[in-house]
């Protein structure tokens, strides 16, 4: 099976994010990582490949030049090939889906497409579904368990209060990972060496026929939220402090 995994490069979870000129972030000193949910997607793609002999994993990443580093990491983890959709402009989710679909559709034997349930930069939480709709294939999101019996894909996804929906889909299909699906592997030394020799195929945005002019959602402004003033520690022995806390919660904060 030709397995695909779509990944996004985002700032590290620890990074302080500052606004630059109202519409973008200051990228100086930002360390870039693969969005954590996409790491679960990569892992699941690799696990599926290991079960199905003769299959291969292709990682696809849309983004500027630096996105190649994310693809190198995916290759080092075990992906066989990588496609970089070179895009320096801001696309909305629908256009990103179109551009990625262009790459995947070109392979008429594509099977399962793995993604993360959201990227931790724009947190738009919709690309995976828009991509699947673009490709006219079924899709499940927030997936915690994945199985393929050679015929169909069966997944479990978390809904409210820990309840789960069990979903069956024919292949090709798309699966969007949640935390808990697996534990992503680290790249081995050998993997890193091997990855260096693989050529990343580059696709220009023009080749995909997609442009930012067609965005259905446009970003107007980024800002930093107001920070809460620092709170206070209630002094005293536990019993006295707890007594005081309950009083404050009831009379001052009015949340009890």
């Amino acid at each position: 099976m030709n397995i695909y995994v779509c990944i996004k490069q985002v700032p590290d979870t620890e990074a302080t994010i500052l606004v630059k000129d109202g519409k973008s972030i200051n990228e100086a000193n930002v360390k870039w990582i693969i969005s954590p949910y996409d790491e679960y997607a990569i892992e699941e793609a690799l696990k599926l490949k290991e079960k199905l002999s003769g299959s291969k994993v292709t990682a696809v990443c849309l983004g500027p030049e630096r996105a190649q580093n994310a693809l190198r990491t995916a290759l080092a983890m075990g992906a066989d090939s990588a496609v970089h959709v070179d895009c320096a402009v801001v696309l909305d989710s629908a256009n990103t889906a179109k551009a990625l679909a262009h790459v995947i559709r070109a392979d008429k034997d594509f099977g399962v497409v793995f993604l993360g349930r959201q990227a931790i930069d724009d947190d738009a939480s919709q690309l995976h579904i828009l991509l699947a709709e673009e490709l006219s294939i079924p899709v499940a999101t927030n997936v915690l368990a994945f199985a393929f019996d050679g015929q169909k894909v069966r997944v479990e996804r978390e809904i409210d209060e820990g309840a789960r929906e069990v979903i069956e889909m024919a292949v090709p299909c798309a699966v969007a990972a949640a935390k808990g699906l697996n534990t992503p592997r680290y790249a081995s030394m050998m993997g890193i060496m091997k990855a260096k020799k693989i050529e990343i195929r580059k696709v220009t945005l023009a080749e995909t026929g997609v442009g930012e002019a067609a965005n259905l959602v446009s970003l107007l402004k980024l800002s930093s939220p107001a920070e809460k003033p620092q709170g206070r520690v209630i002094p005293g022995e536990p019993a006295a402090a707890v007594h005081e806390l309950v009083k404050l919660l009831r009379d001052e904060a009015k949340v009890l």
């Binding site: 979870t13 302080t16 606004v19 954590p36 909305d92 989710s93 629908a94 931790i120 930069d121 724009d122 947190d123 939480s125 919709q126 579904i129 828009l130 709709e133 673009e134 079924p138 499940a140 999101t141 479990e156 996804r157 978390e158 809904i159 409210d160 209060e161 820990g162 309840a163 789960r164 929906e165 069990v166 069956e168 889909m169 024919a170 299909c173 935390k179 259905l216 959602v217 446009s218 107007l220 980024l222 800002s223 939220p225 809460k228 620092q230 709170g231 206070r232 520690v233 209630i234 536990p238 019993a239 402090a241 707890v242 007594h243 806390l245 309950v246 404050l248 919660l249 904060a253 949340v255």
Partner: protein
């Protein structure tokens, strides 16, 4: 005047609180509001929906949630009633349904909105896990929004004349994505994304059994129980309880963090809580910089005391 549509989400036939938040938002806009509800009998919900102008009842032989069918039906509703904007909750179902609808209706979707301006088709949503806020605009004919639960304060319904009742048939196309079973969770829990109060435990809980003391406190408060990733990864709590960047984003009026250090990845998942209380034995723990109220002490002493004190206070 514009036509606004709301997706009314039912859970086991019950009316979700998030619906009331959407109804408040829509009523304030002054536009014609259409509430769309998938049910065999809308009567039980008519009191809740008495403030809207049109109730669209979707009927069908089997109304159990199938995302493809629901999305196709809603796309037809949007077409039929010429809806300019359509809103739902950013709930587990909303996250699954609205992007499908966006594709089918060829409309832009802004997800997880904190505020929506229906006039301008603009919304504010958190990005970078809430480290920044972004203002977006939907271009084109139709706009879709999902709204974060617990953000909009619910206001009393102002009822005008009784809503018009219309009906639509459920799309019966064979779904590509098929839900074959719903597994209920063993325990009856308060849903964290909608909870008013949350009691959370961290690595300091030391063992799964110890979560009982948090559950006892939660019972008194009718609260949900959450956990840090460290507690989940150590096996003390189940993964659906995880709050934070790779867990749930929660938004209660009161969040009580017990034995949680306050790492950025946890904080971004609960920072919009109205009031944060931290209980931690380390006075230097970063959580104290972010909490409204803190108590320095051993959670195994403080939490049971707190339960008793709250019991007393609530009489």
């Amino acid at each position: 005047m514009a036509n606004i549509g709301l997706y009314i989400e039912l859970k086991k036939g019950g009316f979700k609180k998030a619906n009331r938040e959407l109804l408040t938002l829509a009523a304030k806009s002054g536009h014609k509001v259409h509430a769309v509800v998938f049910c065999a009998d809308p009567q039980p919900y008519m009191d809740e929906l008495r403030g809207v102008q049109v109730v669209v009842q979707v009927q069908g032989a089997d109304l159990s949630y199938q995302p493809d069918r629901y999305a196709a039906t809603l796309a037809a509703v949007i077409e039929e009633f010429k809806l300019d904007a359509f809103l739902g909750a950013f709930s587990a179902q909303g996250k699954d349904l609205f992007p499908r609808l966006a594709a089918k209706a060829k409309a832009g979707l802004i997800s997880d909105c904190l505020a929506v301006d229906l006039e301008k088709r603009q919304a504010i949503k958190p990005v970078y896990s809430g480290k920044l806020l972004a203002e977006y605009r939907v271009e084109g004919q139709r706009a879709l929004f999902t709204v974060r639960p617990n953000v909009i304060p619910v206001e009393a319904v102002v009822a005008g004349s009784a809503p018009e009742l219309k009906s639509m048939a459920l799309d019966m196309t064979e779904p590509r994505t098929r839900i074959v079973e719903v597994i209920q969770s063993a325990s009856q829990r308060v849903d964290l994304t909608e909870a008013e109060i949350i009691v959370s435990g961290g690595r300091a809980m030391k063992a799964r059994e110890n979560f009982v003391i948090l559950e006892d406190l939660a019972k008194v408060l009718n609260a949900g129980v959450g956990a840090s990733r460290a507690a989940v990864d150590a096996g003390f709590a189940s993964s659906d309880m995880q709050v934070g960047q790779t867990g749930k984003v929660v938004n209660p009026k009161l969040y009580i963090a017990c034995g949680i250090s306050g790492a950025i990845q946890h904080f971004v998942g609960m920072k919009t809580s109205k009031v944060i209380v931290a209980i931690n034995k380390d006075p230097e723990a970063p959580i104290f910089k972010k909490a409204d109220y803190g108590i320095v002490g051993d959670l195994f002493t403080v939490v049971p005391l707190l339960k008793e004190e709250i019991k007393k206070a609530l009489g």
